[in-house]
């Protein structure tokens, strides 16, 4: 407990973040440049899907990212609730908008892709629906933070919401197996990948780029959240002794 306190001391965090920030931005930009070059220029067009296959390089990492961010959010929430560490609460709070954007991106690119592939923008099949539900969970989570004034209370309640909502993650993961779905089954299975490396490599680079994008944005907005929190605290202090 005391160790965690020390490790995640807000002041120390801010100093650390300041040091790595530039590096993170640089790595993210490079990864995106390389990834996009490979996926948009180098990778072959699919013989069935033609050029539209390139949507995949935006769509799939966004979808992975969206679920991953939710996992980060749920984990932070759990830490916040068990160890009562304020940084964990803020970390969950800061992750939510990023996750929501990723989810939206996956939904949007998926819809665009759906038109040429399935002949419609949207179908109500299991994976699409459960992913849409994920989007709603993000919205609900953010609404909670917005709706509750008191920071500690908001953190607690939001954490409960995030943890209960985490039940949805396995549903997304296994939806394709449980229901028969129009959607593509998993690329990554236990036996390794079924996809050719000319596609897989740029895909993995893009996934890495998304991860770094998340890390950069997450730390940045965590910093902003800390600041906001501090301002509130100062206002509160000004009002004490009345």
């Amino acid at each position: 407990m005391a160790k965690i306190e020390k490790f995640a001391n807000p002041t120390r965090f801010l100093r650390l973040q300041e040091k790595v920030q530039l590096w993170l931005v640089a790595i993210t930009v490079i990864l995106f440049a390389v990834g996009l070059y490979y996926s948009l220029v180098k990778a072959p067009a699919d013989y069935q899907q033609g050029e539209t296959v390139r949507i995949m390089f935006v769509h799939v990492p966004a979808a992975w990212g969206a679920t991953m961010v939710y996992a980060v959010m749920a984990l932070s929430s759990a830490i916040g609730i068990i160890f009562r560490h304020p940084l964990a609460d803020l970390s969950a709070k800061a992750a939510a908008p990023i996750g929501a954007v990723f989810t939206f991106l996956a939904l949007f690119t998926g819809a665009l892709w759906g038109k040429p592939m399935w002949g419609t923008y949207w179908v109500w099949d299991a994976r699409l629906t459960s992913f849409f539900v994920l989007f709603l969970l993000y919205l609900g989570y953010m609404a909670i933070w917005q709706a509750i004034d008191d920071h500690h209370r908001a953190a607690r309640i939001a954490a409960i919401v995030a943890l209960v909502g985490a039940i949805n993650l396995p549903i997304i993961k296994f939806s394709v197996d449980w229901w028969n779905s129009l959607h593509q089954p998993s690329i990554m299975s236990m036996k390794g990948s079924s996809v050719h490396s000319s596609i897989l490599i740029p895909l993995l680079i893009m996934a890495l780029a998304y991860s770094f994008l998340f890390l950069t944005l997450h730390l940045l907005s965590l910093r902003a959240e800390l600041r906001k929190h501090k301002i509130r605290q100062l206002q509160m202090q000004a009002a004490k002794r009345v």
Binding site: T11, L14, D150, H229, K230, I231, Q233, K240, V242
Partner: protein, 237 residues
Amino acid sequence: MDSSFDLINSMLYIVGMKLTGKALSCERGGRQVFDGLDFSVESGGMLELRGPNGAGKTSLLRMIAGLNEPARGEFEIQEGDNEVNLAQICHFIAHQEAFKPALTVAENLQFWADFLSGSDDKADISVALEAFSMEPLAELSAALLSAGQKRRLALGRLAMIKRPIWLLDEPTVGLDKKSVGQLQSLMRQHLDEDGIIIATTHIDLGMEGAKVFDFATLPERADHGMYDDADLEEGML
């Protein structure tokens, strides 16, 4: 469930019970309300909490009742024993009167009697009705009560269910002279039976022999925020 209650009920008769709060610190809504507060009351004793609005009197009662957690510090109910569940041996009479307008006065009392007593011996609402002359109101819908009558309905819990510690938040508010007298004699009887009373108030409760704790005497509060004070000086904001 029931066995824990027998234990609790028997506690009422432990002469020499002593409730102590040690180095208590209270934070609400992220602000520190008070810090380093110590108090103690013994069986048969009464503590009056006084002090300016917002000093933290109500907050202290809520802490004892288990509704808020102290940011630092702890309670002891007997020498060395700080594991007891205080909530279950306390009555907390707050500003909110905790009754249902859709039920009659008698039904409201009966519900709390059944819920709070828990064990099988029947708590008797007629004791509560009598203690505050509410017999004529018994069959009336609680929605129709006046301010003072509502207050009496809430105070009725004290008479009806025996619990050793009473936490009263400005208990005489809204009561007429006669009811104040009834409350006073109820409190005296409780103290005579080796109970403990902690009450906040801005006016005289007319209980001679009560210890008074004035929040105005607490030392200046030091606010422990999430940041080191050094950060503030460095202007990191």
